[in-house]
């Protein structure tokens, strides 16, 4: 059976794409962010993952409000990035992992998560940039991928408790996949930030640090908050922490922290990185 080697949660701000393209990773603005990654690269090199399940949210590249799934799973042989309209470079396609896609789909529906399935799916910066950060300058990406998209655009969003259970179901699906693959689960987005309204620029460092800590020791802690509570505490886009929580759910059982980094600001966002493995 496949093995889950661990989980990595990481911020996905579009602006990161420009820093990578312009090779400004060591500029004073970017250094505290990019310097968080080498320990995670070392850990990944040891884990020898072949497959990544990437839990993210689309920002209006693949999905529009005409059809907005709460949970969607990709089942394509490869995933194309495309013009998102804000001038960041378009990246080469990412290889899919069709066997795991369909195993996930069957297993999730069996567990009563009635997901949308996508045999064609464009992936935006929330999928591509974390892979670029974790496997820099490697094209094609050295892992085969399965995108899992969660709606964080149009309310109502799935509750934190539902996302945690969804993650657990993803974890059980991976572990029951008849394959020798080594799978890493990646959650993207967050942490606290708000792009719109008079409260634009809102950041809550205290909550972010508590959330990162609790994700290791007591992941159900955050499920006490409703989605509007989480918006109030972390900003309208801070709710992307649902992707982090889903990833934590997929790591069934107890986990330990491999490495963490937190830096404010990247663009308008509190950036976070948290690698975890089962103990």
């Amino acid at each position: 059976m496949a093995k889950i080697v661990g989980g990595i949660n990481v911020t996905h701000v579009p602006y990161i794409g420009r820093a990578i393209a312009n090779k400004t990773q060591q500029d004073p603005y970017w250094k505290p962010f990019f310097d968080g990654f080498p320990p995670v690269h070392d850990w990944l090199a040891k884990q020898k993952a072949d497959v990544a399940v990437v839990i993210y949210n689309d920002h209006g590249l693949n999905f529009f409000l005409d059809q907005m799934p709460t949970f969607a799973v990709g089942a394509a042989p490869e995933y194309q990035n495309a013009d998102e309209g804000w001038g960041i470079p378009t990246l080469p396609p990412y290889p899919g992992e069709l066997d795991l896609s369909w195993h996930l789909i069957e297993s999730l529906v069996e567990e009563e998560f009635d997901i949308v399935t996508c045999q064609e799916m464009l992936v935006d910066h929330a999928f591509t940039l974390p892979l670029e950060l974790l496997w820099p300058n490697q094209h094609p990406c050295p892992v085969r991928t399965v995108p899992v998209c969660i709606n964080t655009v149009q309310f109502p969003l799935p509750t934190a408790a539902r996302c945690f259970k969804f993650g657990q179901a993803i974890g059980r699906a991976i572990e029951s996949w008849d394959s020798a693959a080594r799978v890493v689960v990646i959650g993207t987005g967050g942490l606290s930030h708000q792009l719109e309204g008079q409260r634009a620029g809102f950041i809550n460092k205290e909550f972010d640090l508590m959330f990162m800590d609790k994700l290791i020791t007591d992941p159900l802690w955050v499920t006490r908050y409703s989605i509007p509570d989480l918006v109030e505490l972390t900003g309208t886009q801070g709710v992307e922490l649902l992707n982090w929580l889903t990833t934590r759910g997929a790591l069934l059982g107890e986990v330990a922290k491999v490495h963490a980094n937190y830096h404010v600001p990247i663009s308008n966002t509190a950036s976070g990185l948290l690698a975890m493995e089962n103990v």
């Binding site: 590249l61 005409d66 309209g85 309310f155 792009l195 719109e196 309204g197 008079q198 634009a200 509007p228």
Partner: protein
């Protein structure tokens, strides 16, 4: 419009719920079209005609033509789609943040840096 359920009020924040999604559909659909370079060029050639093509109402049209983000939000715009419109004018998230909060871009950036020190 929301089945009588009390809405949560978070100052300076609008939850993009069903009411906003209904209200802003045409505006958001227009902004979604800006994923295409061809459409961005068409918009720049004649902004008013492009707004008409997508059936924007007068409130949405005025907000787009004056590039006032808070007005676009009030007209049902969603931040993710509006950002694509901002991109056409080379506005980044600090420009948009500064405009919405009524400060200069430098002041807005300083506020973000301060949030990291707390």
């Amino acid at each position: 419009m929301n089945g009588g359920k009390q809405k949560r009020v978070i100052p300076g924040t609008t939850l993009f719920d069903g009411d906003m999604a209904r209200k802003g559909y045409a505006l958001n659909k227009m902004c979604f079209s800006f994923n295409s370079a061809e459409n961005r060029a068409e918009f720049l050639r004649d902004k008013e005609a492009y707004c008409d093509k997508y059936g924007l109402n007068p409130q949405q049209r005025a907000a787009v033509l004056s590039l006032q983000v808070l007005d676009m939000l009030a007209a049902g715009g969603n931040a993710y789609y509006l950002a694509k419109l901002g991109g056409i004018f080379g506005l980044d998230m600090q420009d948009i943040g500064a405009q919405q909060t009524g400060v200069t871009k430098e002041e807005f950036k300083a506020k973000l840096v301060a949030a990291g020190r707390n």
